[in-house]
């Protein structure tokens, strides 16, 4: 109760100045499985920043709001944060359409917006604007991370399944384009586009099996993924086909599969148990000590988003929007995943993802044979980005 209540004011140490207000909005009730860990992540970061004396001698205070999960309501909530709460910058949003709407408002009101979770390429490309910066690796980047492995396997006949909305459509388009370039002569023999959240898994699995593919590229997630995996396992679809599944290794989605976890799938995700870098060890220990729970990918995103805000304020040396934009362009910082940079070119962070294969260990799904794919290496050429970005 106390978390969503009004303001989280944490005045650290003996900071006497007014705290700097950060507006945070997200669809906590629409995507609770992803956003509760996210919230714990940013709360941890906020506490760290304030315990270290805040920013420029002032504490940070976060005004957190439920955005209702729709663009219309989110825009109203953002207006409230801007006008009534007088926040310095905005952080948050989950779904792409909500993120785009808030980003558009941010440009109009000339206030910096750190889009933490939305995956859509458009938020930094076609609909990108001066005031919006995006943290999480985009749909395009995550697809590009999987393509090298996909091409190396030299599978000829590919089937594709994706949730039929912008994320699935653009993941599919990027995959086809990148794979065809990396492996000339590849064939796409079947394409299934079930509605988001309403996959008819039995029928889809059967239709894919009928096409006799060598490999499958899927961008399903959440309930669609669970249903697809169960039906595919039962019907033996995955025995002779290699599957690539975007996001499939993120704990939010992987942990629900338990002993149904399909072995050998290639996925992008977050193998939190095994990442043994000093940065990640420190984050993991702090997170577990604070919440008595293990981090999900959302936790990392929330944590890094809040630190991004703090670092930008530090670098800008004030709360002026234009100075913040300048500070964020090319901002370099450490994260649990290693160093990242907010590209000056398109405001996309270079935070990467882990690419690996799924396995079952004691009734739980885990990622094995993984590597960290640094986001900086999975970008289209600068000219292509410039052509897309109308700024």
């Amino acid at each position: 109760m106390r978390y969503l209540l009004f303001i989280v004011v944490l005045i650290a140490g003996n900071a006497v100045a007014q705290p700097i207000k950060i507006g945070e909005l997200n669809s906590y009730k629409t995507f609770p499985a992803f956003l509760e860990p996210y919230k714990k992540g940013w709360q941890l970061a906020l506490e760290e920043v304030n315990a270290a004396g805040g920013v420029n001698g002032r504490a940070l205070a976060v005004v957190s709001r439920e955005d209702g999960g729709t663009p219309g309501e989110a825009v109203r909530v953002a207006e409230e944060l801007i006008t009534r709460e007088q926040v310095t910058l905005l952080v948050g949003t989950f779904a792409s359409h909500v993120g785009l709407a808030v980003s558009n408002l941010a440009a109009r009101r000339k206030i910096v917006f750190i889009a933490a979770e939305p995956l859509t390429d458009k938020i930094v490309w076609e609909n990108g604007n001066r005031y919006t910066f995006r943290l999480r690796p985009s749909t395009y980047m995550q697809v590009a991370m999987l393509v090298p492995e996909a091409a190396r396997l030299k599978k000829r006949r590919w089937a594709i399944v994706y949730p039929n909305y912008e994320y699935g459509q653009s993941a599919t388009a990027s995959f086809k384009q990148l794979l065809a370039a990396a492996q000339p002569g590849v064939e796409f023999v079947a394409e299934q586009a079930p509605p988001l959240g309403k996959i008819d898994a039995g029928a889809v699995v059967q239709a894919l099996a009928d096409a006799r593919p060598d490999a499958i590229f899927s961008s399903l997630f959440a309930t669609d993924l669970q249903k697809f995996v169960r039906e595919g396992n039962l019907r033996g679809l995955f025995r002779d086909t290699t599957v690539f599944n975007l996001l499939g290794g993120e704990p939010e989605y992987l942990d629900t599969l338990k002993d149904e976890t399909p072995e050998g799938w290639w996925v992008t995700g977050y193998p939190w148990r095994e990442i043994d870098t000093p940065e990640h060890r420190a984050f993991l220990a702090a997170y577990r000590a604070r919440w008595q729970d293990y981090p999900r990918l959302g936790s990392v995103v929330g944590y890094v988003a809040m630190h991004t805000a703090a670092n930008a304020l530090k670098k800008a040396g004030g709360t002026d929007s234009e100075k913040l934009v300048t500070a964020l362009k090319g901002l370099r910082m450490g994260t649990p995943f290693g160093a990242i940079e907010y590209r000056a070119l398109d405001h996309q962070s270079t935070m990467g993802a882990y690419v690996g294969r799924l396995a079952r260990r004691g009734g739980e799904g885990v990622m094995v044979d993984w590597r960290y794919a640094d986001g900086a290496r999975y970008q289209p050429p600068d000219e292509a980005v410039k052509a897309l970005r109308k700024e």
Partner: protein
Amino acid sequence: MSGSAVLLQFLNGLAGASSLFLVAAGLSLIFGVTRIVNFAHGSLFMLGMYLALALMPHAGFWWSVPLAALGVAVFGALIERLLLRRLYAAPELMQLLATFALVLVIKDFALWAWGPEDMLGPRAPGLDGAVRIAGERFPEYELFLIACGPLVLGALWYLLRRTRWGILVRAATQDRDMAGALGVNQHRLFSSVFALGALLAGLGGALQLPREPATLQIDLQIIADAFVVVVVGGLGSIPGAFLAALLIGEIKAFSVALGYAEFTLAAEFVVMAIVLVLRPWGLLGRAPAMLRGPAATEPPLVAPSRGALIALAAVACALLALPLATAGYTLVLLTDVVVFALFAVSLHFLMGPGGMLSFGHAAYFGLGAYGAGLLLLKAGAPMAVALLAAPLAAASAALVFGWFCVRLQGVYLAMLTLAFAQIVWSVVYQWDAFTGGSNGLIGIWPAAWLSGRAAYYYFTLATCLAAIAFMWRMLHAPFGYALRAGRDSPLRAGVIGIDVRAHQWAAFVCAGLFAGQAGALYAFSKGSISPEALAVPRSVDGLVMVLLGGLHTLTGPVWGAALFTWLQDTVSRGFDYWRAVIGAVILLLVLVLPGGLGSLLRGRRAS
């Protein structure tokens, strides 16, 4: 497609049909007897899933399924006893509002009790493998489900045709008043029917666990599907529901098989639209008994008194003066309130005086919004043109859809409006190139002279108040009298020479036009528009506003819209479990003020 593929997809369709039928059967029973549009049926289904999951570690799969179903049945009986029974005397749709409030409360209860993560159930012990059919592997559990549908159908058939209880239920389904007049204890009958319906919902949920994870979103997903099956089959007809489930299940399976999986989003609504246009009472439904006596007519809508008019003018003046006091967020919130007030009044125009219940009014709101956005962004029209032309786009859709809708009555009409709305929604949602797909259209801002908050607020206020005043005036013009006459007694209205259908059609177009205006104003106030603007929740919000305000009052919808928008804004900021709080407030209002907020004003004036 090979022969074996056809056979397997046919079996997939059968399994899907069985699952659909299990939920729909209970809903059909409840509606048939009690006439309650039970929005909470999907929530009962969800409870069945979670309850079974909670019981499984202790009781094992096969025991937890019936136990969960029984648990949900007890819960259903309690709902009927403690809540709905108090509302049978209230206007019919208040029960719909009460069950909607239950949806909100149950959803937050499930979040609190079982947490936010999806939970995939275990495979069913003993049926956890696959068998070879035509050389392909087919899950055993699906075969079991295929058998379940006809088994439940048979059991219900026996219960309804061969027992005394069944005779009473059928009598009440056919003519509730007559059954009551003949001395059937309605209370006991309603409770038992509601409990049985809930049992079927819980059973359907629990049985679904091996093929579908328990999630907090399942309630609203299921309710739409279940309603479609019930209506396509014919309200209250169990075999009809079975037939409808079969039809929809097979169409879905084969559209996937043929590579048109995206069509499954709208498939059931397309089926429903076609069936209702061809057979106004569904596949196996019958025309309901005529309502008798004074209960069938609504109290006449009196023109507001001089005092009321002065009060309304005072409210308008206060709203006009407001920007002098504040330039901040209050204006943003009030802009939303005013837009939704117009939306609610346009829906009320259709539902109240027009007597046409609509579950799909968001379609016109959304078409107005998309019309404005598309004209501005794709056609490069100036803002003024976009704002003027967008409502016409909504009105022309209403012209087409309305022509079909006014040929139906009651819930069938409401479901046809829903079908059209869902078809429009799924096209907008999936047509990325034109409508921007799921992301919608970005960058719909007003021209420079309206870009200030106060300026846009004034503009919205002026245009919305004018539209609301126009509709209210229309209700007290000969057109409005003729419309209400057609609602209260189509037969007598027809006899004195009123073309009832033409009036209803005109009202439909008018409501669509003004909903479109609200939508266009909404788009320009937000700067973007996405498919949510024409999705079911927006339609439901409209219904809630109208019913909270009072269906049979004049100004009620305005107060309903104001209260609901304000509640959402304030409560979501102050409470973690804000949905449950809103649900509780609605329940309280329904119980204390069954006539709606508007009745409060009327009562004072009468006394």
